[in-house]
């Protein structure tokens, strides 16, 4: 982290960048917030640790409008989103100085809480340079421990890899955290009977409070005004009525980002109700891979997206019933 | 449904051929090595099936004269495959004869140097699946 701060200072000092987009230490051990730093002095609050899960690429939409370059810290998975935003002309590559930062898996405070750990005062082992496999957590109810990997976000267990897809320079080592297959859960649901599938999603989606956090955090949901906020489709409902609205919203949202979603997992990370929203996006990714050939959004900035492409021999929609 | 119609449909089912696709070009008869031995010529097979006269086809010389060389099948421009039709008629007879199929192990014993090479090749083609 110190290396990152030093480099940021250098780049601020020599005028290469006008600001740094990173994370500011929070007032609790686990709540750093995305923040801009405009001078060397302010960087004293800069932090980069296991709780810096936020994908900063979406902030670059606004940062691209500012004067001068913005240094942005992107984890390997964030770089896919950044590429995708370049492809869609939503960020300006020239306005960004990308530092690919290392990552050893990001932590999910909810997973720590789920283990009954509460009253947290401090957490040791979340530092990015730490080799620690275990988090030591001091609470008002005594000291607790938690394996690092047990506290990791779901997305890190199916990590796309350590490679930064785009960067100006790289700082820090990354660690292999993948220990699961990302389509396993989707396959499990696919194998369910229709009634069971329906019950599963009904239960999950009935929790939705329409807070729009999933949409607002999503780097693919970069619309200035979402269709669900405009009256273009006469769809501007924002009530949760536990009947249709949530399904409509989540299906359409997943559809709108289909072929554009890089599977960065932010939607699931931010959902206050812990709805596994990535299951929608991954279903589309899995279908696209299976039907139209493997495609990873954000791998590059110029490939044709699956939904703006076609072949004469594409599968017919009836394949859905035939696959079983 | 009359038994005649049933038989004709059975032929179509076994052979997988739609006899109505035939445009009566005669290329099958032109290709057939057994043409002169046959009483019903390959291009006529189709009309026998269409006219639901499978009986005559079954009782014909042609039924056993066809070598299953499949020249007609290969060359038929309309995908009608008269060879498959006659083969289907033959299968019908075989099925009626109480499932007396030839098992593969019995084949070597039955081989006879006199058997025309073409028949052997045809047999392999016929039974390759």
């Amino acid at each position: 982290m110190q290396e990152l701060i030093n480099r940021a200072k250098e780049l601020l000092d020599d005028g290469t960048v006008a600001r740094v987009l990173g994370w500011r230490a929070g007032d609790l051990p686990y709540n750093p917030e995305p923040a801009y730093f405009e001078n060397a002095e302010s960087l004293k609050d800069f932090v980069y640790n296991g709780f810096c899960g936020a994908n900063l690429s979406k902030y670059m939409i606004e940062a691209s409008k500012l004067e001068g370059k913005t240094l942005v810290c992107l984890k390997p998975c964030d770089t896919y989103s950044f590429n995708q935003l370049i492809k869609e002309h939503r960020v300006d590559r020239e306005k960004a100085y990308v530092i690919g930062v290392g990552c050893k898996g990001k932590l999910d405070i909810e997973k720590i809480r789920a283990q009954g750990i509460k009253g947290i005062e401090s957490i040791e082992g979340a530092e990015i340079t730490d080799e620690a496999e275990t988090l030591k957590i001091q609470t008002i109810y005594g000291e607790k421990t938690c394996a690092y990997s047990d506290a990791m976000l779901e997305r890190c267990h199916v990590c796309k890899g350590k490679e930064h897809k785009i960067y100006d320079e790289q700082i820090g080592e990354s660690k292999e955290t993948k220990d699961g297959e990302r389509f396993d859960e989707v396959s499990r649901i696919e194998a369910m009977a229709p009634a069971e599938k329906f019950a599963f999603f009904k239960k999950e989606l009935s929790k939705c409070i329409r807070c729009n956090a999933c949409r607002n955090v999503c780097p693919a949901c970069s619309c200035r005004k979402c269709v669900f906020d405009s009256n273009k489709f006469d769809s501007s409902q924002k009530a949760n009525v536990d009947s249709f609205e949530e399904k409509m919203f989540h299906i359409i949202r997943a559809f709108h980002v289909a072929g554009r979603c890089t599977d960065c997992g932010e939607c699931s990370r931010v959902c206050p109700q812990g709805i596994p929203l990535h299951l929608f996006n991954r279903k589309f990714i899995k279908d696209i891979d299976e039907l139209y050939g493997e495609y990873q959004a954000g791998d590059d900035t110029d490939s044709k997206a699956p939904l703006t492409n076609y072949t004469f021999e594409d599968a017919e929609p009836s394949i859905v019933g035939k696959r079983g | 449904m009359s038994s005649k119609k049933k038989q004709a449909e059975l032929i179509e089912e076994i052979s997988g051929v739609n006899p109505l696709k035939c445009m009566k070009c005669g290329k099958c008869s032109a290709s057939c090595p057994s043409y002169n031995e046959m009483d019903i010529k390959p291009h006529q097979f189709v009309s026998y099936v269409i006219n639901e006269d499978v009986e005559s086809l079954v009782n014909s010389e042609s039924l056993w004269k066809c070598l299953s060389c499949f020249a007609c099948v290969e060359r038929c421009p309309r995908d009608v495959k008269p060879g498959k039709l006659i083969d289907a008629a033959r299968q019908m007879v075989v099925r009626q004869r109480n499932n007396t199929y030839l098992s593969p192990d019995e084949v070597p014993e039955l081989l006879d140097p006199e058997i025309p090479q073409q028949l052997l090749v045809s047999a392999y083609r016929r039974y390759r699946r």
Binding site: A54, I140, K207, C211, S236, A239, P272 | -
Partner: protein
């Protein structure tokens, strides 16, 4: 003072639910929220904070107001009926109860919101003291005593027994109804529990949060502060903070065309949303900074200005836990405090 053994709680719930609706913390797909009790429901009384606050029980996230039907070429308006049955909300925390006080000030003052009033009238609250408060809690800062919930019935979970004390007439009535299941409680044990809770509260990290300078009179000083320009930046403009908050009371009114009729309903709105208070001429808050500022100014300045200095934050800490960008009211207060210190 009564008590009931933990293993008899289901019998208690069954008994209450026999005659009225019962809402309590229920775990669904891994998350705890207030929901109607049923035999199958996984009741989660141990959970300190439900994701959404229980204000839902009195001010639902969406509720019908009236329905308009066409009869030939005429219109017929059918108003939604008000709540007529009694119901019990079980397991609210002191902060949530205080949150209702904030809502009362809004909805029960003139003009009275009849939907809300009817629910308040028919609702009986059994509040549970917070056995183990957590680091995100700061209710004490707003004068809430987590050990002493001020509801119809106050309850304490002490080891394997729930202690029960009716505080109001409604509470007494409910107690009467379920008396058969209750036995005499242990005042001393409750006092010990309260003391232990107070001890924990003193150790919480936010205990020393100072509200100096935040009051109804601070309007222009705070409104014009440059600090907002910095603070709002990580905000995603989602509605998480408002929708989990026990005191947020803004709603939107919308129409839903069912094909056969038009239902007018209201649903929670969030000041973080771009269409918040959208009017025919447009919106008077055009930037996210303005909307962000609105939320905190409302809680800490505008509301106190209109309600005798009462803040519309109760320190439940839900926003601290749930904000996707790790922003929250505490950080805002601290940022101003720090700036004040540096000046």
């Amino acid at each position: 003072m009564y008590k009931i053994a933990k293993e008899n709680l289901s019998a208690l719930f069954r008994l209450i639910a026999d005659s009225q609706e019962l809402y309590l913390p229920v775990k669904t797909a891994g998350q705890v929220n207030f929901a109607a009790w049923s035999e199958e429901a996984e009741v989660a009384l141990d959970t300190l904070k439900s994701v959404k606050s229980p204000k839902d029980a009195f001010f639902p996230q969406s509720e019908g107001l009236y329905t308009v039907r066409r009869e030939g070429r005429k219109m017929k308006v059918e108003p939604e009926s008000l709540k007529e049955q009694d119901f019990v909300v079980f397991g609210m925390k002191a902060c949530d109860v205080k949150g209702l006080e904030v809502l009362d000030n809004v909805f029960l003052s003139d003009p009275v919101d009849t939907f809300y009033a009817a629910r308040r009238e028919h609702g009986t609250i059994v509040a549970l003291a917070c056995h183990e408060p957590e680091e995100s809690c700061f209710c004490k800062v707003f004068g809430v005593d987590a050990a002493n919930p001020a509801a119809d019935v106050a309850a304490w979970m002490i080891e394997d027994e729930l202690h029960w004390k009716a505080l109001t007439e409604k509470g007494e009535a409910l107690t009467e109804k379920v008396k058969e299941l209750l036995s005499d409680g242990d005042e001393a044990a409750v006092e010990t529990e309260k003391q232990s809770i107070h001890n924990i509260i003193e150790k919480l990290p936010y205990m020393n949060l100072s509200l100096d300078g935040w009051n109804g009179g601070a309007l222009s000083e705070k409104f014009d502060d440059k600090l907002w320009e910095e603070l709002y930046k990580p905000c995603l403009a989602c509605g998480t903070c408002t929708f989990v908050c026990p005191t947020c009371q803004c709603y939107d009114i919308k129409d839903y065309d069912t094909g056969n009729s038009v239902s007018r309903y209201r649903c929670w709105d969030s000041c973080m949303y771009s269409d918040f208070t959208m009017m025919a001429h447009g919106n008077n808050r055009t930037s996210q900074m303005q909307r962000f500022r609105q939320r905190f100014m409302h809680k800490l300045v505008y509301y106190p200005a209109n309600n005798d200095g009462m803040y519309s934050c109760v320190g439940c800490g839900r926003c601290v836990e749930k904000c996707p960008a790790s922003l929250n009211i505490v950080k805002v207060i601290k940022a101003f405090q720090k700036q004040g210190g540096e000046k």
